[in-house]
């Protein structure tokens, strides 16, 4: 039995625990430790809570952490560089323009790009990949509803035809969901890109264990709930990647993550709490990288009087919006690591800046809130329940936020009833529009203003039992198809003004994610475009 062999060792380690053998880290006493140390230098270890990673198949990616891995293994036609989410950059496509008939877009593919499998990438692969995403019917497919057809013109040219040519598609295609996969191998391993791929496609399990993309790294192994192993893709068209191996290490909680970072077991920690970040300040071999995300945490208030009479009244909603201590939340609860957009369009996108928030956004104003309550006909406040998931977000947790709101609203006599529940139930109730109020976060499927603004007047509105005024809907559509940036910006500002007046979506903050990074790393290109980190761009110092 194995135990026979183990016990003496265990005893030795127990001795260590008891202090004998000094503080020597366990590995240090081992022969061949140098070798390990060597390989350690060529390995990038990312500490992150990846419990939500359920699959690494681009076509089925719908959660929060997979995009980083997918983006490291695959490329999309176009992409975005960190910080600039308005101007697209070429990736697998070098040129793109309207099709001659203007009904779609024509992409010219990069020359001799090889898949990690050795095959060369062709327009055929592009069509296959996009079709597969479209027909498999997962979340990403919803963004392709405007696509009528993906046409192969020749090996290096491909057209994407649209129902409404004006609606945006380029920004969407930059999302990792629309990564280009090696069609031959995917097909060979159960992949299907026909109209009934929803039932026929069986490639996911396979794609969960390997990757067939053109990206800088290749998926070597994925141990669920434990870690993801990537190895360098020598034939990467962008040049040899800086690391031999990349390990995405799962951490259940922040404490362990911080400890591991301190000990150098990991090179960067994604899920640190504000106070942990604070303690990192001034440590000589650990720095803090921040990046403003495009996510935000917001309150949604239902218009349905059956759930709550008060919330159905506009002034009552506005009163809530004015009773919240936004600065307290941002400065204290999340240690200042956040900005706040006016409404549903994150700062950093077209027509959304922090300055604008100061001008037209909600602000804490207790007297005003009281007046509004008077106007609403609830002079001495009212009670309503807010539901939220029992998860952590942006270095704090919903239920900390909830309890903060509770005490804030209490100041104007509004009683807040807290309803924490599994994230999943929350979604059920929210999506079904079966709640009076909720506290949730929004993260971008792809960087495109319209995806946000449409949501507010379409499905989100439905959940809130709110029929948006016709002109507001028109306004949103207009903004979406407007190609002139200046004009578009004005339209979006107008849109946000109106949303503020309706006051059914109150954004609390837009977190600036802060990542603890060891100084052994020079470049650490974080991005808000949806995949958090440009793994390919991480370079050692």
């Amino acid at each position: 039995m194995n135990h026979v062999r183990i016990l003496p060792v265990t005893r030795r380690d127990v001795m260590r625990l008891l202090g004998i053998g000094g503080g020597a880290a366990i590995g240090a006493s081992l022969p061949g430790f140098e070798a390990l140390a060597q390989s350690r230098k060529e390995t990038l270890v990312i500490g992150m809570d990846i419990r939500d990673t359920n699959n690494l198949d681009p076509a089925r990616d719908l959660h929060y952490t997979p995009p980083m891995t997918i983006h490291a293994c695959y490329d999309t036609l176009l992409t975005m560089t960190p910080g600039d989410y308005i101007n697209l950059k070429p990736a697998l496509a070098t040129k793109w323009a309207r099709t001659p008939d203007g009904k779609g877009w024509r992409f010219t593919l990069r020359d001799n790009v090889k898949f990690v499998t050795g095959n060369t990438m062709t327009a055929q692969d592009v069509k296959y990949s996009l079709d597969r995403v479209n027909y498999i019917g997962y979340q990403a497919s919803q963004y392709l509803t405007n696509v009528t057809e993906v046409k192969v013109i020749d090996d290096k040219t491909i057209d994407v035809m649209l129902k409404n040519p004006a609606e945006p598609i380029l920004t969407i295609l930059a999302a990792p969901s629309f990564s280009i996969t090696d069609s031959k191998l995917v097909a060979a391993n159960g992949g299907d890109a026909t109209t009934d791929s929803k039932t026929k496609d069986k490639a996911t399990e396979w794609l969960n264990q390997t990757s067939v993309g053109t990206g800088p790294y290749k998926l070597a192994e994925w141990q669920r709930g434990s870690q993801i192993q990537l190895v360098a893709n020598p034939s990467y068209w962008g040049g040899k990647p800086p690391y031999q191996r990349v390990v995405v290490r799962h951490f259940e909680d922040a404490a362990a993550q911080l400890l591991s970072l301190r000990r150098g077991d990991i090179d960067c920690a994604f899920n640190l709490l504000p106070e942990q970040i604070a303690t990192l300040k001034g440590e000589k071999d650990i720095g803090v990288e921040g990046h403003a995300s495009l996510d935000f945490i917001y309150i949604a208030l239902s218009h349905n009087p059956e759930f709550n009479k008060a919330l159905a009244v506009k002034e009552a909603r506005q009163a809530i919006a004015h009773a919240i201590d936004y600065d307290g939340i941002i400065k204290n609860l999340i240690g200042g690591a956040g900005t706040r957009p006016v409404s549903f369009i994150p700062t950093g996108l077209l027509g959304s800046t922090e300055k604008l928030t100061q001008e037209i956004g909600f602000r804490e104003d207790i007297p005003r809130a009281k007046q509004l309550l008077q106007k609403a006909g609830f002079p001495d406040g009212f009670e309503f329940e807010i539901i939220y998931g029992n998860g952590a977000i942006a270095g704090t947790t919903y239920h900390v936020l909830g309890q903060k709101l509770q005490s804030d609203l209490a100041r104007v006599g509004i009683k807040l009833k807290l309803g924490p529940m599994p994230q999943v139930n929350l979604r059920t109730l929210y999506n079904g529009g079966k709640m009076s109020a909720t506290l949730v976060y929004w993260n971008p499927p792809a960087v495109e203003n319209a995806l946000w603004s449409w949501a507010t007047v379409q499905r989100v509105a439905k959940r809130l039992h709110w029929t948006p005024p016709a002109d507001l809907v028109k306004l949103v559509d207009a903004a979406a198809v407007e190609t002139d940036q200046k004009k578009a910006e004005q339209l979006y500002i107008e849109y946000q003004k109106q949303m503020v007046d309706v006051a059914n979506l109150i954004v609390l903050f837009q977190p600036i994610y802060q990542v603890g990074v060891r100084r052994s790393i020079k470049d650490f290109p974080l991005t808000a475009a949806g995949w958090q980190l440009d793994v390919g761009g991480v370079k050692p110092s």
């Binding site: 400890l259 942990q276 609860l333 807290l418």
Partner: protein, 294 residues
């Protein structure tokens, strides 16, 4: 002391003769006494929480969050600037209430069921005991988790879930105890008087079986407190902002630098559970004839 030792006295078939020698007395009952003392202290704390607390348990003030222990905040503050000390005191109420209620109810229910089974015998006994065994083959925590998850989070729901997994062992114990007593001659004598089964069960058998039951109850209250706080720790227990020790630990367990947030509630659990274990173990010794002889 007295109230704690009252049940012990009537649990033992013999008068504690040892009062004669203080030293022996301490050797034999010392543990129980310490345990009882701890419990009494905690109960007092729970009842007097409003008086002892420095702040209301829900007073949120984000400007003073995560302060280390100080004169103002004896045990520091948590991420919402609430006073850990005050929350700890109020937490005692929740934990003790939950623990004691679950076990006592479970014990009553289980004992009656087991008693009836043992007494009725035959088909009824078969059925009841099979069912008990069935319940016993589910790991308590997992089943409690499942039920709690199924019924939705909340103190009461969690307690119900625990109750469902708690009664069987009492049923089993009670049954074995009653079986022992049932064949005793004094029980037959009671029958000869003309008493009906229920009266014999309650008046004669249970009083004589109570000892081991009390031991199990005492030990189990501790265990129940751990399980309950465990479920809260996993987010399946109380609804925030209810101050509950397990919940407090989980709220603060990520803050290694701010160790106070998680450490003190943990210590609270440890001490109170120790109290119950000491007491229970002490009582067990007390009832143990071998121990009494010496």
């Amino acid at each position: 002391m007295s109230e704690a030792s009252a049940p012990i006295l009537d649990a033992t078939p013999f008068e504690p003769r040892a009062r004669t020698s203080g030293q022996r007395w301490r050797r034999r009952y010392g543990l129980a006494v310490i345990g009882a003392a701890i419990i009494v202290i905690w109960i007092v704390v729970a009842l007097a929480a409003p008086l002892l607390a420095h702040y209301p348990p829900h007073a949120v003030d984000v400007t003073v969050r995560l302060l280390p222990p100080s004169a103002a905040h004896w045990l520091g503050t948590d991420p919402l600037g609430r006073d850990v000390y005050s929350r700890l005191l109020f937490g005692a109420r929740v934990s003790l209430f939950a623990g004691i209620t679950v076990v006592v109810l479970g014990a009553i229910f289980g004992t009656l069921l087991g008693g009836i089974a043992a007494y009725a015998g035959g088909r009824i006994e078969e059925g009841l005991m099979r069912f008990t065994d069935l319940m016993l083959c589910f790991p308590p925590i997992i089943l409690a988790m499942a039920i709690a998850a199924a019924m939705g989070i909340g103190t009461i729901n969690t307690m119900i879930a625990m109750l469902i997994v708690w009664w069987p062992k009492f049923a089993r114990l009670a049954r074995s105890l009653v079986l022992v007593q049932r064949s005793q001659e004094y029980v037959e004598a009671a029958h000869l008087i003309g008493y009906g089964p229920s009266r014999v069960l309650l008046k004669h058998i249970l009083p004589n079986s109570i000892g081991p039951l009390i031991v199990l109850v005492t030990l189990d209250v501790g265990h129940a407190i751990i399980v309950f706080s465990g479920l809260s720790f996993l987010g399946l227990g109380v609804v925030p902002p209810t101050p509950e020790w397990g919940a407090m630990v989980s709220e603060n367990r990520e803050l290694v630098e701010q160790w106070w947030g998680a450490t003190f509630p943990g210590l609270a659990i440890l001490t109170v559970v120790m109290g119950f274990n000491f007491l229970g173990d002490g009582i067990r010794d007390w009832l143990d004839p071998r121990a009494r002889r010496r």
